[in-house]
Symmetry: C2
Subunit: 259 residues, 2 copies
Protein backbone atom coordinates (compact mmCIF):
# COMPACT_ATOMS: atom_id res chain seq x y z
CA UNK A 1 0.00 0.00 0.00
CA UNK A 2 1.27 3.50 -0.87
CA UNK A 3 2.72 5.49 2.04
CA UNK A 4 3.03 9.23 2.58
CA UNK A 5 4.47 11.46 5.23
CA UNK A 6 2.49 14.63 5.94
CA UNK A 7 3.29 17.59 8.19
CA UNK A 8 1.85 17.27 11.69
CA UNK A 9 -0.55 20.20 11.14
CA UNK A 10 -2.16 18.38 8.19
CA UNK A 11 -2.79 15.36 10.36
CA UNK A 12 -5.97 15.76 12.42
CA UNK A 13 -7.64 13.36 14.81
CA UNK A 14 -9.98 12.02 12.13
CA UNK A 15 -8.67 13.24 8.77
CA UNK A 16 -5.45 13.98 6.94
CA UNK A 17 -4.65 16.29 4.06
CA UNK A 18 -1.99 15.43 1.48
CA UNK A 19 -0.69 18.49 -0.40
CA UNK A 20 2.15 19.70 -2.60
CA UNK A 21 4.53 17.19 -4.23
CA UNK A 22 2.97 14.26 -2.42
CA UNK A 23 -0.51 15.21 -3.67
CA UNK A 24 0.91 15.41 -7.18
CA UNK A 25 2.44 11.96 -6.73
CA UNK A 26 -0.80 10.51 -5.32
CA UNK A 27 -3.07 12.06 -7.97
CA UNK A 28 -0.95 12.08 -11.14
CA UNK A 29 1.49 9.21 -10.66
CA UNK A 30 -0.56 6.75 -8.57
CA UNK A 31 -3.98 7.94 -9.90
CA UNK A 32 -5.45 7.85 -6.40
CA UNK A 33 -9.23 8.32 -6.28
CA UNK A 34 -11.98 8.51 -3.66
CA UNK A 35 -12.34 5.21 -1.81
CA UNK A 36 -8.65 4.24 -2.15
CA UNK A 37 -6.76 3.27 1.00
CA UNK A 38 -3.37 4.74 1.91
CA UNK A 39 -1.00 4.69 4.88
CA UNK A 40 -0.05 8.10 6.21
CA UNK A 41 2.47 9.08 8.91
CA UNK A 42 3.18 12.42 10.54
CA UNK A 43 6.89 11.57 10.56
CA UNK A 44 7.01 11.75 14.32
CA UNK A 45 5.55 8.37 15.23
CA UNK A 46 1.82 8.56 14.36
CA UNK A 47 0.72 6.30 11.50
CA UNK A 48 -2.79 5.62 10.22
CA UNK A 49 -4.60 3.65 7.57
CA UNK A 50 -6.77 6.22 5.77
CA UNK A 51 -9.53 6.13 3.16
CA UNK A 52 -9.55 8.87 0.49
CA UNK A 53 -12.66 11.11 0.53
CA UNK A 54 -11.59 13.87 -1.89
CA UNK A 55 -9.07 13.57 -4.70
CA UNK A 56 -9.08 16.92 -6.49
CA UNK A 57 -6.11 19.30 -6.35
CA UNK A 58 -5.17 17.79 -3.01
CA UNK A 59 -6.09 14.59 -1.23
CA UNK A 60 -8.33 14.54 1.85
CA UNK A 61 -8.73 11.20 3.60
CA UNK A 62 -10.47 9.84 6.70
CA UNK A 63 -8.57 7.91 9.35
CA UNK A 64 -9.78 4.29 9.30
CA UNK A 65 -7.39 2.84 11.84
CA UNK A 66 -4.39 3.94 13.88
CA UNK A 67 -1.45 1.62 13.30
CA UNK A 68 0.91 0.49 16.04
CA UNK A 69 4.39 1.92 16.20
CA UNK A 70 6.23 -1.39 15.73
CA UNK A 71 8.34 0.00 12.93
CA UNK A 72 10.40 2.20 15.27
CA UNK A 73 13.35 0.72 17.25
CA UNK A 74 13.39 0.61 21.03
CA UNK A 75 16.55 2.70 21.22
CA UNK A 76 16.97 6.18 19.74
CA UNK A 77 20.28 5.84 17.94
CA UNK A 78 21.85 8.93 16.38
CA UNK A 79 24.71 8.49 13.91
CA UNK A 80 27.22 11.31 14.41
CA UNK A 81 29.23 11.31 11.19
CA UNK A 82 32.29 13.43 10.52
CA UNK A 83 31.63 14.95 7.08
CA UNK A 84 32.87 12.45 4.47
CA UNK A 85 33.98 13.05 0.89
CA UNK A 86 31.66 13.20 -2.12
CA UNK A 87 28.21 11.72 -1.77
CA UNK A 88 29.04 9.22 0.98
CA UNK A 89 26.86 11.05 3.50
CA UNK A 90 23.90 10.26 1.24
CA UNK A 91 24.63 6.54 1.58
CA UNK A 92 24.91 6.88 5.37
CA UNK A 93 21.56 8.71 5.55
CA UNK A 94 19.75 6.35 3.16
CA UNK A 95 21.00 3.09 4.66
CA UNK A 96 20.92 4.39 8.24
CA UNK A 97 17.27 5.41 7.82
CA UNK A 98 16.31 2.02 6.38
CA UNK A 99 18.07 0.16 9.17
CA UNK A 100 16.52 2.33 11.89
CA UNK A 101 18.59 5.40 12.87
CA UNK A 102 16.74 7.97 14.99
CA UNK A 103 18.70 10.97 13.70
CA UNK A 104 21.93 12.06 12.02
CA UNK A 105 24.42 14.52 13.47
CA UNK A 106 27.06 15.58 10.91
CA UNK A 107 30.11 17.24 12.44
CA UNK A 108 33.57 18.58 11.67
CA UNK A 109 36.80 17.02 12.88
CA UNK A 110 40.50 17.53 12.41
CA UNK A 111 41.37 14.97 9.74
CA UNK A 112 38.28 15.64 7.65
CA UNK A 113 39.20 15.53 3.95
CA UNK A 114 36.38 17.70 2.62
CA UNK A 115 36.54 21.46 2.95
CA UNK A 116 33.56 22.46 5.06
CA UNK A 117 31.51 25.10 3.27
CA UNK A 118 28.97 26.84 5.49
CA UNK A 119 27.25 28.43 2.50
CA UNK A 120 26.38 25.06 1.02
CA UNK A 121 25.24 23.66 4.34
CA UNK A 122 21.54 24.51 4.14
CA UNK A 123 21.31 22.99 0.67
CA UNK A 124 23.09 19.79 1.66
CA UNK A 125 20.99 19.33 4.81
CA UNK A 126 17.86 19.83 2.73
CA UNK A 127 19.06 17.16 0.29
CA UNK A 128 19.91 14.70 3.09
CA UNK A 129 16.48 15.38 4.60
CA UNK A 130 14.84 14.47 1.32
CA UNK A 131 16.83 11.22 1.16
CA UNK A 132 15.81 10.41 4.76
CA UNK A 133 12.13 11.02 3.92
CA UNK A 134 12.23 8.77 0.84
CA UNK A 135 14.08 6.02 2.72
CA UNK A 136 11.64 6.27 5.63
CA UNK A 137 8.69 5.87 3.24
CA UNK A 138 10.30 2.96 1.43
CA UNK A 139 11.26 1.13 4.60
CA UNK A 140 7.79 1.70 6.14
CA UNK A 141 8.93 3.74 9.11
CA UNK A 142 6.57 6.01 10.98
CA UNK A 143 9.30 8.55 11.73
CA UNK A 144 11.65 10.56 9.52
CA UNK A 145 15.11 10.82 11.09
CA UNK A 146 16.16 14.39 11.69
CA UNK A 147 19.35 15.75 10.12
CA UNK A 148 21.15 18.05 12.54
CA UNK A 149 23.06 21.18 11.54
CA UNK A 150 26.79 20.53 11.03
CA UNK A 151 28.38 20.71 14.48
CA UNK A 152 31.87 21.81 15.40
CA UNK A 153 33.98 19.34 17.35
CA UNK A 154 33.28 21.36 20.55
CA UNK A 155 29.53 21.09 19.92
CA UNK A 156 29.87 17.36 19.41
CA UNK A 157 31.66 17.02 22.74
CA UNK A 158 28.71 18.83 24.37
CA UNK A 159 26.30 16.42 22.67
CA UNK A 160 28.21 13.45 24.14
CA UNK A 161 27.46 14.79 27.61
CA UNK A 162 23.72 14.89 26.93
CA UNK A 163 23.06 11.27 25.88
CA UNK A 164 22.66 7.98 27.77
CA UNK A 165 25.42 6.19 25.85
CA UNK A 166 28.05 7.56 23.46
CA UNK A 167 30.32 5.25 21.45
CA UNK A 168 33.27 6.45 19.40
CA UNK A 169 34.42 4.03 16.70
CA UNK A 170 38.19 4.01 17.01
CA UNK A 171 40.61 1.62 15.37
CA UNK A 172 44.33 1.48 14.89
CA UNK A 173 45.67 -0.90 12.28
CA UNK A 174 42.71 -3.17 12.69
CA UNK A 175 42.81 -3.43 16.44
CA UNK A 176 40.19 -1.75 18.55
CA UNK A 177 41.68 0.77 20.95
CA UNK A 178 41.63 -0.65 24.48
CA UNK A 179 40.73 -3.96 22.83
CA UNK A 180 37.04 -3.39 23.50
CA UNK A 181 34.59 -4.32 20.76
CA UNK A 182 31.18 -2.66 20.44
CA UNK A 183 29.39 -5.83 21.61
CA UNK A 184 31.15 -5.91 24.96
CA UNK A 185 30.67 -2.19 25.64
CA UNK A 186 26.99 -2.13 24.72
CA UNK A 187 26.10 -5.37 26.53
CA UNK A 188 27.70 -4.09 29.72
CA UNK A 189 25.87 -0.75 29.52
CA UNK A 190 22.55 -2.45 28.67
CA UNK A 191 22.83 -4.84 31.62
CA UNK A 192 23.40 -1.96 34.05
CA UNK A 193 20.58 0.37 33.04
CA UNK A 194 16.99 0.53 34.33
CA UNK A 195 14.73 -1.23 31.85
CA UNK A 196 11.28 -1.19 33.42
CA UNK A 197 9.14 1.63 32.00
CA UNK A 198 12.27 3.51 30.97
CA UNK A 199 11.84 5.84 27.98
CA UNK A 200 13.91 4.89 24.90
CA UNK A 201 17.57 5.57 25.71
CA UNK A 202 19.44 8.09 23.56
CA UNK A 203 22.53 6.51 22.04
CA UNK A 204 25.17 8.38 20.03
CA UNK A 205 27.35 6.45 17.56
CA UNK A 206 30.32 8.61 16.54
CA UNK A 207 32.15 7.87 13.29
CA UNK A 208 35.34 9.58 12.15
CA UNK A 209 36.29 10.86 8.69
CA UNK A 210 38.34 8.97 6.06
CA UNK A 211 41.54 9.86 7.94
CA UNK A 212 40.17 8.72 11.31
CA UNK A 213 40.22 10.58 14.61
CA UNK A 214 43.38 12.05 16.07
CA UNK A 215 44.58 10.67 19.38
CA UNK A 216 43.66 13.98 21.01
CA UNK A 217 40.11 13.83 19.68
CA UNK A 218 39.70 10.29 21.01
CA UNK A 219 40.96 11.42 24.41
CA UNK A 220 38.65 14.45 24.48
CA UNK A 221 35.64 12.33 23.52
CA UNK A 222 36.53 9.83 26.24
CA UNK A 223 36.87 12.60 28.80
CA UNK A 224 33.41 13.85 27.73
CA UNK A 225 31.97 10.41 28.48
CA UNK A 226 32.23 8.43 25.23
CA UNK A 227 33.40 4.79 25.14
CA UNK A 228 36.00 3.94 22.49
CA UNK A 229 34.94 0.77 20.66
CA UNK A 230 36.02 -1.39 17.74
CA UNK A 231 33.81 -2.84 14.98
CA UNK A 232 35.60 -6.09 14.23
CA UNK A 233 39.09 -6.90 13.00
CA UNK A 234 38.87 -5.21 9.64
CA UNK A 235 39.26 -1.56 8.65
CA UNK A 236 35.88 -0.19 7.61
CA UNK A 237 35.42 2.77 5.29
CA UNK A 238 33.89 5.76 7.04
CA UNK A 239 30.50 5.33 5.30
CA UNK A 240 30.38 1.64 6.33
CA UNK A 241 31.17 2.10 10.03
CA UNK A 242 27.88 3.83 10.91
CA UNK A 243 25.82 1.17 9.12
CA UNK A 244 27.66 -1.65 10.91
CA UNK A 245 27.63 0.05 14.33
CA UNK A 246 23.91 0.84 14.03
CA UNK A 247 23.15 -2.79 13.17
CA UNK A 248 25.17 -4.00 16.18
CA UNK A 249 23.29 -1.62 18.51
CA UNK A 250 19.90 -2.75 17.17
CA UNK A 251 21.00 -6.38 17.51
CA UNK A 252 21.86 -5.85 21.17
CA UNK A 253 18.61 -3.92 21.78
CA UNK A 254 16.64 -7.03 20.81
CA UNK A 255 15.45 -5.62 17.48
CA UNK A 256 16.56 -8.70 15.50
CA UNK A 257 14.79 -11.25 17.72
CA UNK A 258 11.51 -11.20 15.82
CA UNK A 259 8.09 -11.19 17.42
CA UNK B 1 51.58 0.41 5.26
CA UNK B 2 50.78 -0.39 1.62
CA UNK B 3 49.14 -3.78 1.02
CA UNK B 4 49.11 -6.02 -2.03
CA UNK B 5 47.52 -9.30 -2.95
CA UNK B 6 49.67 -11.60 -5.09
CA UNK B 7 48.85 -14.92 -6.74
CA UNK B 8 49.74 -17.95 -4.62
CA UNK B 9 52.46 -19.06 -7.08
CA UNK B 10 54.29 -15.73 -6.60
CA UNK B 11 54.32 -16.22 -2.87
CA UNK B 12 57.20 -18.46 -1.80
CA UNK B 13 58.32 -19.52 1.66
CA UNK B 14 60.86 -16.71 1.92
CA UNK B 15 60.15 -14.27 -0.90
CA UNK B 16 57.30 -12.78 -2.88
CA UNK B 17 57.12 -11.28 -6.34
CA UNK B 18 54.78 -8.42 -7.21
CA UNK B 19 54.04 -8.16 -10.94
CA UNK B 20 51.65 -6.60 -13.45
CA UNK B 21 49.31 -3.79 -12.38
CA UNK B 22 50.31 -4.08 -8.74
CA UNK B 23 54.01 -3.71 -9.62
CA UNK B 24 53.11 -0.63 -11.66
CA UNK B 25 51.20 0.75 -8.66
CA UNK B 26 54.07 -0.02 -6.26
CA UNK B 27 56.82 1.37 -8.50
CA UNK B 28 55.17 4.30 -10.32
CA UNK B 29 52.42 5.43 -7.95
CA UNK B 30 53.93 4.62 -4.54
CA UNK B 31 57.59 4.96 -5.69
CA UNK B 32 58.54 1.84 -3.75
CA UNK B 33 62.30 1.23 -3.52
CA UNK B 34 64.67 -1.38 -2.06
CA UNK B 35 64.45 -1.44 1.73
CA UNK B 36 60.77 -0.41 1.86
CA UNK B 37 58.39 -2.56 3.88
CA UNK B 38 55.06 -3.80 2.53
CA UNK B 39 52.34 -6.17 3.60
CA UNK B 40 51.52 -8.90 1.11
CA UNK B 41 48.76 -11.54 1.11
CA UNK B 42 48.13 -14.49 -1.14
CA UNK B 43 44.39 -13.80 -0.93
CA UNK B 44 43.75 -17.17 0.64
CA UNK B 45 44.75 -16.45 4.22
CA UNK B 46 48.59 -16.08 4.21
CA UNK B 47 49.87 -12.59 5.01
CA UNK B 48 53.43 -11.43 5.54
CA UNK B 49 55.40 -8.31 6.30
CA UNK B 50 58.03 -8.14 3.56
CA UNK B 51 61.10 -6.00 2.81
CA UNK B 52 61.74 -4.99 -0.81
CA UNK B 53 65.02 -6.33 -2.29
CA UNK B 54 64.56 -5.46 -5.97
CA UNK B 55 62.42 -2.68 -7.40
CA UNK B 56 62.99 -2.72 -11.16
CA UNK B 57 60.28 -3.75 -13.60
CA UNK B 58 58.75 -5.87 -10.86
CA UNK B 59 59.11 -5.97 -7.11
CA UNK B 60 60.89 -8.81 -5.29
CA UNK B 61 60.72 -8.77 -1.50
CA UNK B 62 61.88 -10.96 1.38
CA UNK B 63 59.48 -12.22 4.00
CA UNK B 64 60.32 -10.53 7.31
CA UNK B 65 57.48 -11.88 9.41
CA UNK B 66 54.35 -13.94 8.94
CA UNK B 67 51.32 -12.10 10.25
CA UNK B 68 48.53 -13.79 12.15
CA UNK B 69 45.18 -14.32 10.46
CA UNK B 70 43.15 -12.22 12.90
CA UNK B 71 41.59 -10.25 10.08
CA UNK B 72 39.42 -13.17 8.95
CA UNK B 73 36.12 -13.96 10.73
CA UNK B 74 35.52 -17.22 12.58
CA UNK B 75 32.56 -18.11 10.39
CA UNK B 76 32.66 -18.44 6.59
CA UNK B 77 29.62 -16.41 5.58
CA UNK B 78 28.58 -16.39 1.93
CA UNK B 79 26.08 -13.77 0.75
CA UNK B 80 23.77 -15.35 -1.83
CA UNK B 81 22.24 -12.36 -3.62
CA UNK B 82 19.51 -12.53 -6.23
CA UNK B 83 20.77 -10.30 -9.05
CA UNK B 84 19.71 -6.73 -8.26
CA UNK B 85 19.17 -3.78 -10.61
CA UNK B 86 21.90 -1.44 -11.80
CA UNK B 87 25.13 -1.33 -9.87
CA UNK B 88 23.70 -2.44 -6.51
CA UNK B 89 25.65 -5.72 -6.63
CA UNK B 90 28.83 -3.61 -6.57
CA UNK B 91 27.74 -2.06 -3.27
CA UNK B 92 26.95 -5.52 -1.85
CA UNK B 93 30.40 -6.83 -2.87
CA UNK B 94 32.31 -3.77 -1.67
CA UNK B 95 30.58 -3.41 1.71
CA UNK B 96 30.26 -7.18 2.25
CA UNK B 97 34.01 -7.60 1.67
CA UNK B 98 34.89 -4.81 4.12
CA UNK B 99 32.57 -6.22 6.78
CA UNK B 100 33.89 -9.75 6.38
CA UNK B 101 31.98 -11.90 3.85
CA UNK B 102 33.72 -15.14 2.85
CA UNK B 103 32.23 -15.29 -0.66
CA UNK B 104 29.38 -14.07 -2.85
CA UNK B 105 26.93 -16.30 -4.68
CA UNK B 106 24.80 -14.35 -7.17
CA UNK B 107 21.70 -16.21 -8.36
CA UNK B 108 18.51 -15.89 -10.37
CA UNK B 109 15.03 -15.91 -8.91
CA UNK B 110 11.49 -15.44 -10.12
CA UNK B 111 10.77 -11.81 -9.25
CA UNK B 112 14.18 -10.56 -10.36
CA UNK B 113 13.78 -7.19 -12.11
CA UNK B 114 16.95 -7.32 -14.21
CA UNK B 115 17.04 -9.39 -17.36
CA UNK B 116 19.79 -11.97 -16.84
CA UNK B 117 22.27 -11.84 -19.69
CA UNK B 118 24.62 -14.84 -19.81
CA UNK B 119 26.90 -13.12 -22.35
CA UNK B 120 27.67 -10.29 -19.96
CA UNK B 121 28.19 -12.61 -17.01
CA UNK B 122 31.95 -13.16 -17.32
CA UNK B 123 32.55 -9.42 -17.57
CA UNK B 124 30.39 -8.60 -14.58
CA UNK B 125 31.96 -11.30 -12.41
CA UNK B 126 35.40 -10.00 -13.37
CA UNK B 127 34.33 -6.48 -12.35
CA UNK B 128 32.88 -7.69 -9.02
CA UNK B 129 36.10 -9.63 -8.41
CA UNK B 130 38.12 -6.45 -8.90
CA UNK B 131 35.89 -4.60 -6.43
CA UNK B 132 36.32 -7.45 -3.91
CA UNK B 133 40.13 -7.32 -4.29
CA UNK B 134 40.27 -3.55 -3.78
CA UNK B 135 37.93 -3.70 -0.77
CA UNK B 136 39.95 -6.59 0.73
CA UNK B 137 43.16 -4.55 0.39
CA UNK B 138 41.59 -1.43 1.85
CA UNK B 139 40.03 -3.26 4.80
CA UNK B 140 43.27 -5.18 5.51
CA UNK B 141 41.89 -8.64 4.93
CA UNK B 142 44.14 -11.56 4.17
CA UNK B 143 41.58 -13.18 1.90
CA UNK B 144 39.74 -12.03 -1.22
CA UNK B 145 36.13 -13.23 -1.20
CA UNK B 146 35.33 -15.39 -4.20
CA UNK B 147 32.53 -14.39 -6.58
CA UNK B 148 30.60 -17.45 -7.72
CA UNK B 149 29.12 -17.91 -11.20
CA UNK B 150 25.47 -16.85 -11.40
CA UNK B 151 23.42 -19.82 -10.17
CA UNK B 152 19.95 -20.84 -11.22
CA UNK B 153 17.36 -21.20 -8.46
CA UNK B 154 17.78 -25.02 -8.63
CA UNK B 155 21.53 -24.65 -8.16
CA UNK B 156 20.96 -22.37 -5.19
CA UNK B 157 18.69 -24.99 -3.60
CA UNK B 158 21.51 -27.52 -4.01
CA UNK B 159 23.92 -25.09 -2.34
CA UNK B 160 21.57 -24.80 0.66
CA UNK B 161 21.93 -28.52 1.22
CA UNK B 162 25.73 -28.30 1.34
CA UNK B 163 26.23 -25.71 4.13
CA UNK B 164 26.06 -25.82 7.93
CA UNK B 165 23.45 -23.06 8.21
CA UNK B 166 21.33 -21.40 5.52
CA UNK B 167 19.19 -18.35 6.29
CA UNK B 168 16.67 -16.88 3.85
CA UNK B 169 15.70 -13.26 4.55
CA UNK B 170 11.95 -13.19 4.17
CA UNK B 171 9.60 -10.40 5.16
CA UNK B 172 5.99 -9.58 4.50
CA UNK B 173 4.80 -6.04 5.25
CA UNK B 174 7.49 -5.60 7.81
CA UNK B 175 6.82 -8.75 9.76
CA UNK B 176 9.22 -11.64 9.62
CA UNK B 177 7.59 -14.79 8.31
CA UNK B 178 7.07 -17.21 11.18
CA UNK B 179 7.89 -14.26 13.46
CA UNK B 180 11.50 -15.43 13.79
CA UNK B 181 14.23 -12.80 13.70
CA UNK B 182 17.78 -13.60 12.59
CA UNK B 183 19.11 -13.26 16.16
CA UNK B 184 16.88 -16.01 17.53
CA UNK B 185 17.58 -18.42 14.67
CA UNK B 186 21.35 -17.96 14.73
CA UNK B 187 21.68 -18.07 18.51
CA UNK B 188 19.75 -21.34 18.66
CA UNK B 189 21.88 -22.91 15.92
CA UNK B 190 25.11 -21.64 17.48
CA UNK B 191 24.21 -23.06 20.90
CA UNK B 192 23.56 -26.51 19.43
CA UNK B 193 26.69 -26.96 17.33
CA UNK B 194 30.05 -28.46 18.29
CA UNK B 195 32.49 -25.64 19.02
CA UNK B 196 35.65 -27.32 20.22
CA UNK B 197 38.21 -27.64 17.42
CA UNK B 198 35.45 -27.37 14.85
CA UNK B 199 36.52 -25.92 11.48
CA UNK B 200 34.83 -22.60 10.57
CA UNK B 201 31.16 -23.31 9.81
CA UNK B 202 29.84 -22.47 6.34
CA UNK B 203 26.88 -20.12 6.57
CA UNK B 204 24.73 -19.03 3.62
CA UNK B 205 22.77 -15.77 3.85
CA UNK B 206 20.18 -15.66 1.07
CA UNK B 207 18.78 -12.30 -0.05
CA UNK B 208 15.93 -11.86 -2.55
CA UNK B 209 15.60 -9.36 -5.40
CA UNK B 210 13.78 -5.98 -5.24
CA UNK B 211 10.44 -7.78 -5.63
CA UNK B 212 11.20 -10.29 -2.88
CA UNK B 213 10.87 -14.07 -2.99
CA UNK B 214 7.65 -15.79 -4.05
CA UNK B 215 5.88 -17.92 -1.47
CA UNK B 216 6.85 -21.00 -3.47
CA UNK B 217 10.52 -20.07 -3.45
CA UNK B 218 10.42 -19.58 0.32
CA UNK B 219 8.79 -23.00 0.73
CA UNK B 220 11.33 -24.69 -1.54
CA UNK B 221 14.25 -23.08 0.30
CA UNK B 222 12.77 -24.18 3.61
CA UNK B 223 12.30 -27.73 2.32
CA UNK B 224 15.97 -27.69 1.24
CA UNK B 225 16.99 -26.81 4.79
CA UNK B 226 17.03 -23.01 4.98
CA UNK B 227 15.58 -21.10 7.94
CA UNK B 228 13.32 -18.15 7.08
CA UNK B 229 14.34 -15.13 9.15
CA UNK B 230 13.52 -11.44 9.53
CA UNK B 231 15.96 -8.52 9.84
CA UNK B 232 14.00 -6.16 12.09
CA UNK B 233 10.67 -4.39 11.72
CA UNK B 234 11.52 -2.26 8.71
CA UNK B 235 11.60 -3.12 5.01
CA UNK B 236 15.21 -3.15 3.82
CA UNK B 237 16.24 -2.57 0.24
CA UNK B 238 17.76 -5.67 -1.36
CA UNK B 239 21.31 -4.23 -1.30
CA UNK B 240 20.98 -3.39 2.41
CA UNK B 241 19.70 -6.78 3.61
CA UNK B 242 22.97 -8.66 2.97
CA UNK B 243 25.04 -5.99 4.77
CA UNK B 244 22.72 -6.05 7.80
CA UNK B 245 22.40 -9.85 7.90
CA UNK B 246 26.18 -10.30 7.61
CA UNK B 247 26.75 -7.87 10.49
CA UNK B 248 24.22 -9.75 12.65
CA UNK B 249 25.94 -13.08 11.92
CA UNK B 250 29.37 -11.67 12.78
CA UNK B 251 27.93 -10.14 15.95
CA UNK B 252 26.59 -13.52 17.06
CA UNK B 253 29.88 -15.25 16.12
CA UNK B 254 31.70 -13.09 18.67
CA UNK B 255 33.47 -10.95 16.06
CA UNK B 256 32.40 -7.64 17.67
CA UNK B 257 33.59 -8.52 21.18
CA UNK B 258 37.10 -7.17 20.73
CA UNK B 259 40.25 -8.85 21.97
Amino acid sequence: MQRYFVAADQFGEAEVRITGEDAHHALRVMRTKAGDKLIVSDGAGRTALVCVREAQSEVVADVVEWLGGKSEPKWNITIAQSLPKGDKMELVVQKGTEIGAFAFAPFQSERMIVQYDGKKEAKRIERWGKIAKEAAEQSHRSRIPEIGAVRTWRELLALIGSVDLALLCYEREGHAAHGRGIAKAVRQWNASRQHADAPPPNVLLIVGPEGGFTEREAEEAEAAGALLVGLGNRILRTETAGIVGLTCLLYESGEMEGE
